[in-house]
């Protein structure tokens, strides 16, 4: 019987393969590579979903039965899936494949990180503080937001790479979408992420109010999510009101994703309630 852990480590390699296929499709013009890459991404996303489902099933069999969203390992797996799904939607909607190279890199790195021995992949029962339906709403919305921000950052990096390239119409960069499309995609991903991050912070606040009797306590994780939110709010105002676009928005989007990464990982180095490890 195949376990979720072994299935998910296979998926890690499929994401790696997807990455390679997207890079090949980027370099060589043959459409078949692009179709292969897309197929591989779809397969990885399906496998990823199956892995999460299987893990849920395993937890049911162990008598715990909670959705696999309760520790760092499980959140990384879910994060990978959300990146893949959002990307596939973008590819379908905008018919752009070059971004796939960036989009496959993110889940590949996340899943590879999750499989490090220092990150426990054991299925653990829920401690009393986590036994709440708000956990599911909170984690899912936060990670949808994080995934959109990750893609926004990837697209911004592509933008910056293209703009620092000698002639953006030549070589590899010629196949990267034009500046205005990249800019628009970044903006779309940021607004999508911002809505989900807002809902994520709100569900977290409602949950904290139910568990601890206060909706906001300035604990480091909460504060960092607010910092992230403020950075993206700055970006949105700079763009909508001051007409910023292009490079400056790309830099802000990278700064925002840095704040996301710190909220996600860095906070574990600081003292606080969200002991997500």
């Amino acid at each position: 019987m195949i376990t979720s852990a072994s299935l998910l480590s296979v998926i890690t390699f499929i994401y790696g393969l997807t990455l390679i296929l997207y890079v090949i499709a980027w370099i060589f013009k043959k459409p078949v590579f692009g179709q292969l890459a897309t197929g591989s991404m779809v397969a990885a996303a399906l496998g990823n979903t199956a892995g999460i489902g299987l893990r849920w099933f395993e937890s049911l069999q162990m008598g715990y039965g909670h959705a696999p969203l309760s520790n760092l390992y499980e959140s990384l797996i879910f994060f990978s899936l959300t990146v893949a799904v959002i990307y596939l939607y973008l590819e379908y909607r905008y018919r752009i494949r070059v971004i796939g190279a960036v989009a496959a890199l993110i889940p590949f790195l996340a899943m590879a990180y999750a499989s490090l021995p220092s990150i426990s992949s054991e299925i653990q029962p829920l401690i009393p503080a986590l036994q709440s339906n708000w956990l599911i709403a909170h984690v899912m919305t936060c990670f949808f937001g994080y995934a959109a921000f990750a893609l926004a950052c990837g697209i911004s990096l592509l933008y910056l790479a293209k703009s620092s390239y000698g002639d953006p119409q030549k070589g590899l960069m010629a196949r990267v979408p034009d500046f205005s499309t990249l800019d628009e995609l970044t903006h779309q991903m940021v607004t999508f992420g911002f809505l989900f991050l807002s809902v994520g912070i709100i569900t977290g606040a409602v949950w904290a109010n139910q568990a601890w009797g206060r909706y906001w306590g300035w604990d480091p994780k909460e504060t960092w999510s607010l910092i992230t939110w403020l950075v993206y709010a700055t970006l949105l105002h700079a763009r909508l009101m001051r007409g910023w676009e292009g490079k400056r928005i790309a830099y802000l989007s990278c700064l925002g994703f840095f704040a996301v990464l710190f909220t996600y990982f860095g906070v574990n180095l600081l003292p606080g309630l969200h002991s997500y490890q």
Binding site: Q131, S132, T191, A205, W207, Q210, I227, A233, L240
Partner: protein, 464 residues
């Protein structure tokens, strides 16, 4: 807006400062950056710890800047207040013009504004302009709030449609939500409270210790803890903390409920949360007298408040109190009984009886060394008690924030124009749209509209 000149009064210039988005961008970034401090320096800890950590130079500076309670400091509150004034002033400044935009007295449609639009899509249809006008006109009337058809000078037609003007209010909903959150938080901090209470099993309590202060407060009712249990998973991880709680109001039990984490009790505007637990010594324990000369042990069962006779009629011992953490010459010696010894000859003297150091009392060099063993513990449940009358407003702010963001980001004001020009019995159809601030969504909306219109009249118009 009036133009800036030197004669503007101070108030005018201040007003102008607060209408600027530069200020909001600066404030948002400043809040983001300063918030980091409080995540690096743990907040609201014992001043001694800070002194040790930061030394004599930095400590007074940090203290003066309120860095140890920065989210409540004057300067952090000032930043938030500036943001609020910024949002208010900006909204007041713009709402009237936005309002006029949303509810215009007369709509005016001008075809030339659409001709330059980059999303303009064109195709050739087999039907006559008149036929197309009927079908497309119907569609636009049904799907757009405002519409208008006019004849073009080249004997073609122009069909205009417009919808989503009201979505321009989305931003105001978002900004209103921020105000609701702030006002709700303010109401909570003025009229609410937050504190802790420990209730031993079988006991009732009504006094809470307020958070971050040494004050206490009395509730109007009693909280009784009938029972407390901790259950564990086979791995040893905690599975459930459960307190059987009864609320006793005016001597009557008015509510009984199993209190668990994530499942609070609400009574009379006050919420009760399962927060911690611990042990207190139960009624009975054993006092051991060890003869310092012979080493002989005499044991007696006793309880707090009881008088215990010393062996050989040597006097009495009264166990007065118990504390979880007793500090002896600056060292924490853990759970300790505090007692008073009245010997036959001599004045009463206080005795410290730490549980973890049974030979502690040997130091006194009396006839007997006294220690305490075999305690029956009982649990107490640690409750967090809070009242926050700001919650409804905060939650209203949450809902407004979500709805407002959705409207602002995913809906937009759009105006479209379909142009039908006769071309040798056939018709050139072109569709274009504009939206304020060139919202990216308009491109997709036009693509879809073109596809839809093409289908209505049997063309597969692949946008070129």
């Amino acid at each position: 807006m009036n133009n800036t000149d030197k004669n503007d009064s101070f108030f005018d210039r201040l007003w102008k400062l607060f209408t600027s988005v530069k200020l909001s961008v600066a404030l948002l970034l400043t809040l983001a950056v300063t918030s980091i401090i409080g995540t690096v320096i743990p907040q609201n800890q014992n001043p001694m710890l800070y002194q040790q950590k930061f030394g004599e130079v930095l400590y007074p500076i940090f203290e003066a800047l309120s860095l140890f309670d920065m989210y409540n400091s004057w300067w952090f509150r000032l930043l938030i207040s500036l943001l609020i004034v910024n949002i208010l002033v900006c909204s007041i400044e713009r709402l009237s013009s936005t309002w006029k935009l949303i509810f215009p007295e007369k709509l005016n449609f001008r075809a030339d504004r659409f001709r330059k639009s980059p999303n303009r899509t064109e195709w050739i249809a087999e039907q006559s302009p008149e036929a197309l006008k009927g079908v497309y006109g119907d569609y636009i009337i049904r799907h757009f709030r405002h519409s208008h058809i006019e004849t073009d000078d080249t004997a073609g037609y122009l069909i205009f449609g417009e919808k989503g003007r009201w979505t321009r209010l989305g931003v105001y909903v978002v900004h209103l939500s921020i105000l609701l959150l702030m006002v709700g938080a303010l109401i909570g901090s003025i009229f609410g409270f937050e504190g802790y209470m420990n209730v031993p099993v079988g006991a009732s309590e009504n006094t809470i210790l307020l958070r971050n202060s040494d004050q206490s407060m009395k509730l109007e009712f009693d909280i009784r803890c009938e029972d407390f249990t901790v259950s564990h998973y086979p791995s040893g991880m905690p599975k459930e903390y459960r307190s059987e709680i009864a609320i006793v109001d005016n001597g009557k039990t008015v509510l009984e409920k199993a209190l668990r984490v994530n499942d609070p009790i609400h009574y009379a505007g006050i919420s009760i949360f399962q927060s911690s637990y611990g042990k207190v010594p139960g009624d009975k324990f054993t006092v051991v007298f060890t003869d310092n000369a012979s080493g002989m042990r005499v044991e007696k069962r006793a309880a707090i408040g009881e008088q215990i006779k010393l062996p050989a009629d040597g006097g009495t011992l009264i166990i007065e109190d118990f504390t979880d953490n007793f500090s002896f010459r600056g060292h924490n010696i853990g759970p300790t009984f505090l007692s008073r010894l009245v010997e036959k000859s001599g004045t009463p003297q206080p005795l410290i009886l730490p549980l973890d150091y049974p030979s502690f009392d040997k130091m006194r060099q009396g006839d007997y060394a006294i220690s305490i063993e075999k305690i029956d513990y009982r649990y107490y449940t640690g409750l967090q008690i809070a009242r926050d009358p700001g919650i409804p407003m905060v939650y209203a702010g949450f809902i407004a924030l979500i709805i407002g963001c959705y409207i602002t980001f995913f809906m937009f004001h759009q105006q479209i124009c379909i142009e039908l020009r006769p071309a040798d019995g056939r018709t050139t159809v072109s569709v274009a749209g504009i939206s304020p601030r060139n919202r990216p969504g308009i491109k997709t909306a036009i693509k879809r509209l073109a596809r839809k219109l093409g289908k209505l009249t049997g063309q597969e118009n692949k946008p070129v």
